[in-house]
Amino acid sequence: MELVLTTHFGNERYRFAETYEQLGGYGALRKALSMPKEEIVAEVRKANLRGRGGAGFPAGVKWGFLPKDLSRPRILVINADEGEPGTFKDRLIMTRGPHLLIEGIAITCYALEAHTCYVYIRGEFVREAEIVQEAIDEATAKGYLGKGILGTGFDLEVTVHLGAGAYICGEETSLINSLEGKRGWPRVKPPFPASVGAFGLPTIVNNVETIADIPWIVTHGGEKFASLGVEKDGGTRLICVSGPVKKPGVYELPVGTSLRSIIYEHAGGLRDGKALKAVIPGGSSTPVLRADEIDVGFDIESMQKIGTMAGSGGVIVIPEGTCMVRALSVLMNFYAHESCGQCTPCREGCGWLAKVLHRIENGQGRNGDVELILEVCDNMLGRTICPLADAAVMPAQSFIWKFREEFDGHLREKKCPYGNRF
């Protein structure tokens, strides 16, 4: 099986420039610097590389939104604010293969004629940020970053910027506000960041994994990358499997690999002989699947067809015996905690979802509470500046639609049939 990213992740020295170079690293940058810029962008378009941060927007198309004139400097921002519950792949790239990210940054900035890049890393990732900074320093010393990269006239300055604990900053306009030293409040679009982004300048925001794929695409060509995946969704992706499976972790798999084989073959199936009850496939914000819905390819369109999303690749496995009301309550506490408070439907709605679920779980639910939740969801969906409200609504609705009897059971029995704990 062809791997794009993780081939050498078992090698502890791979995070250092010397080993990375010995294994072919920075060859793609050398090649890119000899290519016309538009050809690099064309290869990325051919690759059908869809953004790996959750939204799945085609990277090459996003790049195409930059204004044609070069009168204003352009900025590349790397979204390393990995915070979607169930997702832990960018952390792996930053710790095991930081030079993949840096080489991807250098190639992308060259192709997009950007001379400034900020890597926005979530504040909790102190050690990860240290590793990335060390790699940046190494790359600069070796002439892959900084002034006159590899003897060309191309300059690039890369700065690590730490967040400070706010899930919302993974949303690109919120991230930009945070980078600018403001509260992480999402911006109304348009204007899109490609025209007015960080510091008012044309800005492209890409996820860590998306950019780490770029060197391979330059080396092997866009068509080859596309052929690893499925139509309109190329390459491999890092799938994160968490919950009580035998082998939780990150698996690099061709886009389109079946969710069943991800859970049962790669992650080894559930522990202690337990049966599967449900799966959240793409991070906590994506609609939940029942155990009988996992014969689906892990790609953006196949997931869409069955009413969920591939998201950021965060597969959360929920075993038989888990209270779905409690599980949803845990998730809604998260969204209530992380709503930035800017839009009323989200600020109030997430809070109410958490409160009503808490009382249902604790045996104090009232008749009509399930309908109340669904009504609150209707008043949130699509009515806010950013998708955080939708991200709370999608699990809330899908948990109720697919496991309604558990919610009704809590109301009927005035207690949690599962003993009110995990």
Binding site: R183, S242, F334, F422
Partner: protein, 157 residues
């Protein structure tokens, strides 16, 4: 004003400022430096950061209070942050939080009387494959069990 950065931090701060096109963008990094230097962000620390960058304290405070990692109140020598999100909960985080709380005699959000430990529950730390997870100051502790946590706490005396 009595609070001030050390020489070393001042130099780091100057180097950091050069990475940004304006002083506003330096607010978050400066707050990080201040928290490391002063332990927590008291009103005095906020005012110091504001004066360094040329903003009103209200402006800096408005930013600082948005982000959960900026501690406005003192925290213990060891800040134990246990993840309570779904993947960790499925792997026993609820029991782990109770265990740590019981052992230290504090509830989440509180600091032990000797000022050594603050216990917090936090949302997803981004390490769900090694759940349950706890962050102690800058370091992650993963694949935790009650025994493992006991050993970690014993080592943090």
């Amino acid at each position: 004003m009595s609070l001030a950065f050390s020489e070393d931090t001042r130099a780091r701060h100057e180097r950091m400022l050069a990475r940004y096109p304006n002083r506003e963008a330096a607010i978050l990094p400066t707050l990080h430096l201040a928290q490391r230097e002063f332990g927590h962000l008291s009103a005095e620390a906020i005012a110091y950061v504001a004066s360094l960058l040329g903003f009103t304290p209200a402006r800096v405070e408005g930013v600082a209070t948005f982000y959960t990692m900026y501690n406005r109140k003192p925290v213990g020598k060891y800040h134990l942050q246990v993840c309570r999100n779904l993947s960790c909960s499925l792997m026993g985080a609820e029991h782990l939080i109770e265990h740590v709380a019981g052992r230290l005699g504090v509830r989440p959000g509180e600091t032990t009387a000797d000022g050594k430990f603050t216990l917090s529950t936090v949302e997803c730390l981004g390490s769900c494959g090694t759940a349950p997870v706890m962050q102690v100051n800058d370091d992650y502790y993963e694949d935790l069990s009650e025994d493992k946590v006991d050993a970690i706490l014993d080592g943090l005396r």
